[in-house]
Every structure is written in structure tokens, then in C-alpha cells.
């Protein structure tokens, strides 16, 4: 039995870090609790940044609610720079050393920068991840732009495109793949969202990439596509994915790379030799963990719901004593996106899905729930403007129920299984 912790350090003061702090206190941890954050802000919520914050609705202050009795010491604008596993100490940029009995690593991800540094440095070229990014981009969007060019076929690209159309700004969205959002939603649903985007006035270009950018006086003026077309623009947003913040763990002995920080089923960080790093846990976007809903395949889930759930599991296990009292992280991945007036929700993981069945509504109504099958089992379900029906499919996904879930049911006689 390990001794109960007296000092807990959380590196990463965002959604996962704050959720862990709340969970630790709720579970009775009364010792010293320190949250270390690289950014200068209190923990804040990111999903509104690409939507209502850019659009200028309500306040841009998305600081997350914090319990008045949290009694945590916050260190903002203070990136952790080194981890000494043997000495159980985290070192920060200012040279301060934070000893811990338990450590939670929740350093998350950052926006993948545009690969050409000279182009990335042009005024008018943006990425969007942090609150400061949203503030800068939002201010730029309010300057009567000629055209916004968005690069990336994921949810951030589509959400920003939607916001730009709400603001009546012309938008070109460049997607490298043949179908947008296919990685998360599959080609059928991704195609539907692409269709809606086009109707709302987005100039959506599929299988399209930038060859180079043009600038004048350090400002972006145009992009040249691989097919030679030149598009004049004064604003480009590169929404081309994320990089995990693991560099500070170099040399620590933990198993961390571009794929994330490897942890076991109980959110315990693993060393490069495969052993558990005593007292060290991980949660959120940075953690790479064995997913029980996918035969323990390793996954890093960069979603809001996982950040909270994994932080709560890690917090419980930090206080559990020995491994026999720990619980495994078995969160079913879920997320939502709001764009073009639609709400898209997903539970489960669609990767490798080989079949899709619309189980409520229809593509025609643009209001539906679709279940995804993989090898005859239900692995995910997606809803478009049908959130109330979605939770009903969680059990089928958790239990990997036969797919399609209700074929030839009395009330659903016409379910048609199709390609995803």
C-alpha cells in the first residue's frame, strides 16, 4: 500500500487539469494542489473559440467555472520544462522546482504550425487553438476582409468557415482529401456537411492544396494552389491538426512521442521500458491509452468529453492507493460540432467502420441518427440535429451489439445498410 499523497502537481492548466483538481478535492484530497499552465490565463474553454468568440457573440472570456473552495495554487505563464522521475520533481521555466507525491500530466496539444516558416510569419496567416489566437483572428475578421482562405478538412476548418459566413465574409475552404470530415464521420456524413457548406456560400475545394503564398510588405496577399490557380486573400487560417506537448518530457524516461504520452488502462504513465512510472498519471489530449471499446488499441482522443472523464479517472486513481483499488478508463469517445446551424454529435469511433445504417430521420431531412458497423458489430453512432436519440446507442456500442442494431424491427422495417 502506498502512502496517501500530500502534494499533487498538475502540469497543464486547461480543461483536463482543472477537472482533475475538482475531482481530487471532491474525493477528499486536502493536501497541497498546484496547477502549472504554460498560458497566461486561468483555465478556459476552447470549443467556443472557433464559433461564438470569433463571431463576437457574448463575452470572449471563456474562463471555466472554478469552485470557490478549490484551494489550488495556480502558476500561469509558467511552462514546465523538465521532469525528474527519480527525484519526483517538476521544473518550470523560471527555475522553480515543484516536488510531488502524485503528478498529473495534462499538457494537451498545440496547433500544428504552417510548415513553411516564412509563409507562416506573414501578417494575415493564423492558426487557431488558444484564446489569444481567437482574439487575434477575431479582430482581423472584423476588419472587412476580402476573403478568408481556410486550409484543412477537419471540424475547426468547417466551424471557422461557418462563422465567416455568419459574418458575411467570402470563404474558400481547401481540403486535401476527396471528402471532407471523412476521418471522423465517414464519407456519407462528411459529404452531407460539405453539401451544406456549399449551400451556405462556402467555396469548398476538395483535393486541393496550396503550392505557395504571396505577400507584399510582410502581409499575405494571395495563395497559389497546386493546380496553378491564384486566389487573392488577406487572411488564411491553417487548421491542419495538432502537435502533442511532450517535448518537456524528453530525457525523463517516460514513453512519450508525437503520438502522445503512453499510459496504461488506469491512466498511469509508462516508462520507455514499459514499467509504470510510480505516482505519475496522464489525462486529456496528450494521453495515449488502451481503448477497451477497440480491443485495447492505443488511442489519443482529442475531445472535450474525454479530457474531463480521463481527468476524473486519473484523479480517482491518484488517491486509490494501490492498483487493486484503481478503476480503468473506459470512456466512450464522444464529441459535438456546431456549424451552419447544424449540431453534429458522435459517440464511439468510426475508424475502420465498414457499414452505416440510418436509424432515425433521413439524409434528405438533414436530421438523422446513423449507426456505424464494423465486422457486424455496432461501433459508433452519429446524430445530425437529433441529439435526443443518440444516447440510446451508447449501450449498443459499449456492448458491441450486432449491427445493424434493429434490422427488420416492427417499427423500423426499412433500415438499409450502406457503405459508410
Amino acid at each position: 500500500m502506498t502512502t496517501p499523497p500530500e502534494r499533487i502537481v498538475v502540469v497543464g492548466a486547461s480543461l483536463a487539469g482543472l477537472a482533475a483538481a475538482h475531482a481530487l478535492r471532491e474525493r477528499g484530497f486536502a493536501g497541497r494542489l498546484t496547477l502549472v499552465g504554460a498560458e497566461p490565463h486561468r483555465p478556459y474553454d476552447r470549443p467556443p473559440l472557433s464559433k461564438q468568440v470569433l463571431r463576437g457573440l457574448y463575452s470572449a472570456d471563456t474562463t471555466l467555472p472554478c469552485h470557490p473552495e478549490l484551494r489550488a495554487e495556480f502558476r500561469f505563464g509558467q511552462p514546465a520544462t523538465r521532469l525528474d522521475l527519480a527525484g519526483r520533481v517538476v521544473e518550470c521555466e523560471d527555475g522553480s522546482r515543484l516536488p510531488y507525491d502524485r503528478l498529473l500530466i495534462a499538457t494537451g496539444t498545440r496547433a500544428r504550425p504552417w510548415p513553411n516558416p516564412a509563409e507562416a510569419a506573414l501578417a494575415g496567416v493564423f492558426t487557431l487553438r488558444d484564446r489569444d489566437d481567437a482574439e487575434r483572428l477575431g479582430a482581423h475578421l472584423r476588419t472587412k476582409l476580402q476573403r478568408v482562405v481556410l486550409v484543412g478538412g477537419g471540424f475547426i476548418g468547417f466551424e471557422v468557415a461557418s462563422t465567416c459566413r455568419d459574418l458575411d465574409i467570402p470563404v474558400t475552404l481547401l481540403v486535401r482529401d476527396a471528402v471532407p470530415l471523412a476521418a471522423a464521420l465517414g464519407p456519407r456524413l462528411g459529404g452531407l456537411i460539405g453539401e451544406v457548406a456549399r449551400e451556405k456560400g462556402v467555396d469548398l475545394r476538395l483535393e486541393s492544396e496550396i503550392e505557395r503564398m504571396e505577400g507584399a510588405g510582410g502581409r499575405l496577399t494571395a495563395v497559389i494552389l497546386k493546380d496553378g490557380e491564384r486566389i487573392e486573400t488577406d487572411c488564411l487560417v491553417a487548421a491542419i491538426g495538432t502537435l502533442r506537448n511532450v517535448e518537456w518530457l524528453d530525457g525523463s524516461g517516460l514513453e512519450a512521442d508525437a503520438g502522445g504520452l503512453r499510459c496504461d488502462a488506469f491512466c498511469r504513465a509508462l516508462r520507455a521500458d514499459g514499467r509504470v512510472a510510480e505516482g505519475v498519471f496522464a489525462a486529456g489530449d496528450v494521453a495515449r491509452w488502451p481503448n477497451p471499446h477497440d480491443d485495447d488499441a492505443l488511442v489519443a482522443v482529442e475531445h472535450w468529453g474525454n479530457a474531463r472523464a480521463q481527468a476524473e479517472t486519473a484523479a480517482a486513481n491518484m488517491l486509490a492507493g494501490d492498483a487493486s483499488a484503481m478503476r480503468r478508463h473506459d470512456h466512450l469517445p464522444d464529441f459535438w460540432s456546431q456549424q451552419f446551424g447544424l449540431t453534429i454529435k458522435l459517440v464511439g469511433l468510426t475508424e475502420g467502420a465498414d457499414a452505416l445504417a440510418v436509424v432515425h430521420g433521413s439524409f434528405k431531412e438533414r436530421r438523422l441518427v446513423a449507426a456505424f458497423g464494423k465486422g457486424g458489430r455496432t461501433v459508433a453512432a452519429a446524430a445530425i440535429d437529433s441529439a435526443r436519440w443518440l444516447p440510446a446507442y451508447k449501450a449498443a456500442i459499449r456492448e458491441r451489439a450486432p449491427f445493424p442494431p434493429i434490422e427488420n424491427a416492427v417499427d423500423q422495417p426499412r433500415i438499409r445498410v450502406q457503405e459508410p
Binding site: Y58, S59, P65, R75, W336, Q338, R367, D385
Partner: protein, 73 residues
């Protein structure tokens, strides 16, 4: 105060919109948008929204007393 809504949980029952008009709104059929940082004077309305939400998706706390740091213990 500070407000966050778990939009995985939200099912657009829209009760918050009646309880705290001006702080919550639907864009389209189900896309909930809300004020993450309403004035302290809205506390009563926000609390009504929290209790009205049938899926318990809303969390709110007062603004932190010290906006920059708080010492533990």
C-alpha cells in the same frame, strides 16, 4: 460569474433559454450558444437555468476572487 455547458450532454430541451433569456440561445434547431461570463447580476437567472436543465449539463461558479493566483493551504 463563469458558465460552461457540457454540450455532449445537451439535448436542446431549451429550458435554459426560458429560464435565462439573453444568456442562452439556440442557433438552428439544436446548436446551443451561451454567455460564458455573465454579470454577477444574472446569478438568479443562471441558477434557474441550471435547475431547469433536464440533462444537468450546466455548471456555473462565481468569478474567482483573485483573477491571477490563489495560494493553496
Amino acid at each position: 460569474m463563469k458558465v460552461v455547458v457540457d454540450l455532449n450532454r445537451c439535448q436542446a430541451y431549451a429550458q435554459c433559454i426560458y429560464a435565462a433569456p439573453g444568456h442562452f440561445a439556440l442557433h438552428g434547431r439544436e446548436a446551443l450558444v451561451y454567455d460564458p461570463s455573465p454579470d454577477e447580476t444574472a446569478r438568479g437567472a443562471i441558477e434557474r437555468a441550471i435547475h431547469a436543465c433536464p440533462v444537468r449539463a450546466i455548471t456555473a461558479y462565481p468569478d474567482a476572487a483573485d483573477a491571477t493566483a490563489g495560494e493553496a493551504r
